[in-house]
């Protein structure tokens, strides 16, 4: 059995199913992100692991022990909240030591552990300050140290970076990941920010309306999205409808233009409609000698996005975006001009659902 096992968990509020038949096994030391839009059930699932919500059905096992019905203070699970949730009447040290104090550990043990945690988050100079005297980033680091001081079996992070500004967010997520790796602690990170999830996680669970859409490494989720939802939610994507020409050889046709996929199209027959997707950065201008997946279109718009230039084209009856790196020697077509672009067979993804 996995270290943390969420088995057939469903949560209903009245008639509304918020989490539907959720199954996930997490290994010890793994960093897993729950990614999805607001209301997809990711926080509810996390709160069920923490014990703040009871599943309507299903079970949760931690290190082989069924913790489904245990109260939050009987689970050795640490949680970090979006709003930091530091106790305003306590200093940094007292906040970090709170969990150890209520568990009635010896004073010198508490002192030693608190000092260790304060060093871990590099707030030695702020140890005697109250939360209102700290910045948002510092408060969230204290919150992290407070959760870790109890040496929890699992660390739960409920959108911990959402309230912070962009720069702090990037540096703090790296810090969280580094600390998690150095301690080897199992962590679940809830976020609606795809970049955050992609950059920090060992595995990502993409959720939508209470269901798991796809579970995989960041590489798999980004490059091989299985459903239209995942493809659209993670990164930007061109999607269009096509007809299957030759399922065995993975051949499609869209408005008379032929597209070749890398593998055969399973479960479809000739003439079936499918949705396919191509990431904008997978397109390139046609090099000489290229024969497959040649697409001719008309340039509609060109947008500079800093390091990337986005070229919008009309291909057949669909609009496609192509991203190319911005460099001084870049030669761009003009708006209204016709141009040919191409992509590899691996870039053409057939989507389910």
């Amino acid at each position: 059995m996995a270290y943390l096992s969420i088995s057939k968990v469903t949560k209903q509020f009245g008639d509304t199913v918020v989490v539907d038949n959720f199954n996930l096994d997490i290994e010890k030391g793994e960093f897993v992100s729950f990614l999805g839009p607001s209301g997809c059930g990711k926080t509810t699932t996390l709160r069920m692991v923490a014990g703040f919500e009871l599943p309507t059905s299903g079970q949760i096992f931690l290190d082989g022990v069924d913790i489904t019905d245990k109260s939050p203070n009987q689970r050795n699970v640490g949680m970090i909240f979006q709003s930091y949730a530091l106790f305003p009447n306590m200093t940094v040290e007292q906040n970090i030591g709170f969990g150890l104090t209520v568990r009635k550990l010896e004073k010198d043990v508490i002192k030693q552990r608190v000092d260790e945690m304060v060093r871990l988050i590099h707030l030695e100079k702020h140890a005697h300050k109250y939360p209102y005297q700290l910045s948002g980033g510092q408060q969230q680091r204290v919150s992290l140290a407070r959760a870790l001081a109890n040496r929890p079996q699992v660390l739960l992070l409920d959108e911990p970076l959402s309230a912070l500004d962009a720069k702090i967010r990037v540096s703090l997520r790296s810090e969280i990941r580094a600390i998690q790796k150095s301690l080897g602690i199992t962590a679940i990170f809830v976020t609606h920010d795809q970049e955050e999830a992609l950059s920090i996680s060992d595995r990502i669970v993409v959720m939508n309306v209470g269901e798991m859409e796809q579970v995989g490494t960041p590489f798999e989720i980004y490059n091989f999205p299985k459903t239209r939802f995942v493809a659209n939610f993670v990164g930007s994507l061109n999607t269009a409808e096509a007809q299957v020409l030759d399922p065995a050889n993975g051949l499609l046709t869209m408005d008379g233009i032929q597209l070749q996929t890398h593998e055969g199209i399973i479960g479809k027959k000739k003439g079936d409609k499918v949705t396919f997707a191509i990431r904008p950065e997978r397109f390139s201008f046609v090099a000489e000698g290229k024969k497959e997946n040649l697409l001719e279109g008309t340039v509609i718009n060109i947008t500079f996005l800093g390091s990337v230039v986005r070229i919008q084209m009309q291909i057949g009856n669909s609009t496609f975006n192509m991203d190319t790196f911005n460099r001084p020697s870049l030669e761009l077509p003009k708006i209204g001009e016709k141009c040919q672009v191409t992509c590899s067979t691996k870039a053409v993804l057939i989507l389910e659902g």
Binding site: F52, P72, G78, F81, A85, F98, V102, R146
Partner: protein, 296 residues
């Protein structure tokens, strides 16, 4: 020429226009006419004898005359008892309708009632209690005739210390509800969850997190209740007709009394009240500032 002000945080404020002051002018005029000038008159008159000569005798009598010292003691006792009783009752009610989880409709009913009741004092309040639990009161009759309980036979007397305290409680606990409900709303759900998550029991959460956060507000509110009762005059006078000699009644007797007539002493007693009220309000402000600092 007025200059733009830049705060240490870098915020820029435009120069203050004299027209801006017009908006607050009525308040200042009102305060000068009906607060500062009367206070000044009170202060100077407390050092004046009936013939208009300077004297320290009025101030000395505040500490030497037994009936004056007793009046202060009585006022402090009634104020303390009703602040404590009203404070506890008000806190429990506010708790029930905020974090206690009672229906929201009950909360709006209680808050509306508290808004009205906290301002219901003086002659109408005294009459309401005389009409309900006075010797011939409606409830007194019902209890005696239908339940065989004669509360006056049992020792209760509306026109006593206990009776006056009971009447004061009617406007004390609603004031506590009004002050404590927002303070209890300020307790974040996440604090409780964080405490539980760290292994704390409900009792540990209340003892180590919620009560320390609330305590300045509770104590501050009780100080306000104390001041509220300490300054009450009409209710006590209308109910007891001067039989219970709280400070406010004694001041009235000195300023417009037939038997006791020494306005200078009355003013000196009023100065004593101002000092006690000022200490109470300073304590309230200090405790409020402490809570606000934590919660900002």
């Amino acid at each position: 020429m007025a200059q733009t002000a830049i705060t240490p945080q870098g915020k820029i404020y435009p120069p203050t226009n004299w027209k801006t002051w017009l908006g607050v002018a009525p308040f200042f005029i009102f305060a000068i006419l009906f607060l500062f000038l009367p206070s000044l008159r009170l202060f100077t008159a407390s050092f004046t004898d009936p013939e208009g000569n300077f004297t320290l005798n009025n101030i000395i009598q505040l500490f030497s005359e037994k009936y004056i010292v007793d009046a202060y003691k009585l006022s402090i006792q009634i104020s303390a008892v009703t602040a404590l009783g009203g404070g506890i009752l008000g806190f429990l009610l506010a708790y029930s309708v905020t974090v206690g989880g009672l229906p929201k409709s009950l909360r709006s009913i209680l808050i509306t009632f508290s808004g009205v009741a906290s301002n219901f004092a003086g002659v109408p309040l005294a009459f309401a209690f005389v009409a309900t639990i006075g010797r011939q009161g409606f409830m007194t009759h019902i209890l005696r005739d239908y339940f065989g309980m004669d509360i006056y036979e049992a020792g209760f007397n509306l026109y006593s210390f206990a009776g006056l305290s009971l009447v004061y409680m009617y406007f004390q606990f609603p004031l506590m509800v009004l002050i404590m409900a927002p303070a209890l709303d300020g307790l974040k759900k996440e604090w409780r969850e964080a405490a539980e998550n760290l292994g704390a029991s409900t009792a540990q959460y209340w003892l180590k997190v919620a009560m320390p956060v609330l305590l300045p507000s509770i104590l501050g509110a009780m100080i306000l209740l104390f001041g509220n009762a300490f300054g009450a005059y009409a209710t006590a006078y209308a109910l007891t007709g001067g039989r219970i000699g709280v400070v406010t009644i004694q001041i009235g007797a000195q300023i417009r009394g037939d038997v006791l007539y020494n306005p200078g002493l009355g003013y000196a007693m009023a100065i004593g009240m101002v000092v006690i009220m000022a200490i109470s309000l300073a304590g309230y402000s200090w405790l409020q500032a402490k809570t606000e600092r934590w919660l900002k």
